[in-house]
Symmetry: C2
Subunit: 409 residues, 2 copies
């Protein structure tokens, strides 16, 4: 069960964008597992992909097709997504299967194979079940439409160990035009994205040149998907795509870029946070807020060191105000010339550490009251500079171990 | 329960070294929790300490006393160790308590306070229970003797969540002299030592000048305690001490240094491995053997990335041959220009990955047979160079979560 309320929002229609899905039998019988997202010819597109060196076959193919389209001043028309199988660690066979999937959709849809970008998620190292996948493609195409229900079904069709479909939507006003941004995402374990998350798909009706779109995607992903961690494991299949259909306002003037970027950032952050709320076995939603660092990288290093500490995560799970574990994790972060006497650590409104040790005002009762909450902010001030970072994470529970000890069975 | 057989060895007497211990009521009633180790005036001594920035009060005091003795060309005479309380994150009060403990032992033993080095382990952030500790010091002193039983009781007296006392001993022949090396250690969780482990005490009767002793300690710790991880959390209290009593052979000639270093390395490695076998919740003992790296640091980075992966650790716990998780972890290791097509991964004798994907010879049955073993070696060849690293780790089990969710209760 996800932490807090993670409702799937009512998604407005974006003209020219149609979504279809089906139960192809790739994951489990009766589970939606194959999704097609169709984009209009007018669209521009940007993408960011995993930096895992063992990146999956579909990631290689998606990057190549995207580059090929851009060389020919075209934009891909389809995102083809399957769950239940990551097509990663599958060598040459995996590359062939990913291309075959694109060929099949291209033929049914009457576009070139390069106009199709493939995405896969699920177990690593097994060959794609091609018969099921190929049979599912025309079925998924048949169901394509632009409704909110289609967005929600697409959200369901990309899930793995996730327990809820995850979407976010915003409408921003630009002069007399309204710009819509819709996004869906998935991810629950193997979540410590590096460049993007385990699949995010975001579409807007704004009109945005490709280089600017890519820049906006990178900037907003860096402060959303790249700031979450469930278990420190970066997936082989991470990808986040952003398309602008060109139906609504032109985003070009600096003022408009700012308004649009803020809206996009909000959608990205909501999607990223939804992944943490639905993190494998999560019972807590934890915000690490690091301030007064010398650099943003230093702030991120401290935040991720605490967020990855199994001892901090099990204390959070136990609602145990064992704040010494937070102090120990901060102390082992890779920071040079670290003066711990300047460090201040707060649990929500309760100060736990100052002057190198337990804050004089601290008492166990107040600490325990905060730790019992479902949503907790750990505030860490380093006393070294002006830079900040915010990272979101979940706890480490018995269910995390159960889910991952039983995943393939 | 520890993985495999971790017997406490029969420790030979080392002349002039006496160990005492008592149940002072610091940890729990009926648990040995205070240890005194007495060394002869003739001894030389070396130490390595945690690099956690929030290092504990006793670490500060031990380093200062050691330095002070060295300035006066003396050697500390006592190691005073308590379990049940780490005296870390305790600010000025903690410093005062650590010094008071030294003062008390010094007075009883008739030495200067600087001749006493304090070590603490246990919960972080609570003040030391000074009444119990001070009352226990004369009791522990009274029991001091040189027997194997005294070594074993000292091994028991420093444990926290450990389930077994851990010792190692070796006798090496140097010409017509026999040199003995005895060591004890503790540690089970918060184990990713950086410079030393969560308390190791090693004594030899050899005659070794202090600078060489320090160099040998550093070299052997780097390939033993600094190559283990249970949960990636570096403690605030890590310390490993080595004393040479000067009773037996003089270690000075290169040939003798090599023989002695090999013996010392073996003791250090046995102690470090004992910590992993008794790691919190451990059901597996796993060796990461990385070869063909461009540098030792690169080999260590890959080994620790795999060893820290919660997904690899839960698959090991489940005896699930989910090798894709190993591949994904290798792929996210911080290695530049990583050509995954040259990577080879083996589970014991079974090849799982080559040419960027599943090895053609691999079959699930063979993989599962290896994963069912209690002791497993994951061999990773990077195909980039000549450097190697070996790291030892345990799995991530339900018991790890239980132990750390319940630790303070």
């Amino acid at each position: 069960m996800a932490v807090g309320n993670v409702p799937f929002p009512a998604m407005p229609t974006i003209k020219g964008v149609r979504l279809g899905s089906t139960m192809a039998g790739i994951k489990k019988p009766g589970r939606r597992d194959l999704v097609v997202i169709e984009l209009p010819e007018s669209a521009t597109m940007a993408g960011v992909f995993t930096r895992n060196a063992f990146c999956a076959a579909p990631v290689h193919v998606a990057k190549a097709h995207l580059a090929d389209c851009q060389t020919h001043q075209q934009t891909p028309r389809y995102w083809l997504i399957n769950t239940g199988n990551a097509n990663a660690g599958t060598g040459e066979v995996g590359m062939r299967d990913a291309k075959k999937s694109c060929d099949a959709l291209a033929e049914h849809a009457g576009v070139s194979p390069e106009a199709v970008l493939p995405f896969s998620t699920g177990v690593i190292g097994e060959p794609l079940p091609m018969d099921a996948l190929l049979a599912g493609i025309p079925e998924a195409l048949k169901t394509c439409d632009s409704s909110g229900a289609a967005w929600q079904q697409a959200g369901e069709g990309i899930l793995t160990t996730d327990t809820v479909a995850k979407g976010a939507s915003i409408v921003v006003e630009l002069g007399d035009k309204r710009v819509t941004i819709n996004g869906i995402t998935k991810g629950s374990g193997m979540i410590k994205p590096n460049m993007a998350t385990m699949l995010g798909f975001v579409v807007t009706d704004a009109t945005i040149a490709q280089p600017l779109l890519q820049q906006l995607l990178r900037e907003t992903v860096d402060r959303s998907f790249n700031c979450i961690t469930v278990d420190s494991d970066t997936s082989t299949n991470d990808a986040c795509m952003l398309a602008a259909t060109g139906e609504s306002a032109v985003i070009e003037a600096q003022e408009d870029i700012t308004i649009f970027r803020n809206g996009l950032q909000r959608v990205m952050t909501e999607l990223a946070q939804a992944i943490i709320r639905d993190g494998e076995g999560a019972t807590k939603f934890v915000t690490l807020q690091v301030e007064q660092a010398q650099s943003r990288q230093e702030a991120l290093d401290v935040a991720f060191t605490v967020a990855h500490s199994p001892l901090v995560k099990t204390a959070l799970y136990a609602s145990d105000a064992n704040w010494g574990r937070i102090l120990a994790a901060v102390g082992r972060a890779p920071v040079n010339d670290f003066d711990v006497n300047r460090v201040v650590i707060d649990l929500d409104e309760v100060r736990i550490v100052e002057d190198g040790g337990r804050a004089p005002s601290y008492n166990e009762e107040a600490g325990s009251a905060v730790m019992a909450r479902e949503e907790i902010t750990i505030g860490i001030k380093l006393g070294r500079g002006e830079q900040t970072a915010t990272v979101w994470t979940s706890d480490l529970s018995h269910d995390y171990v159960s889910i991952n000890a039983d995943y393939r069975s």
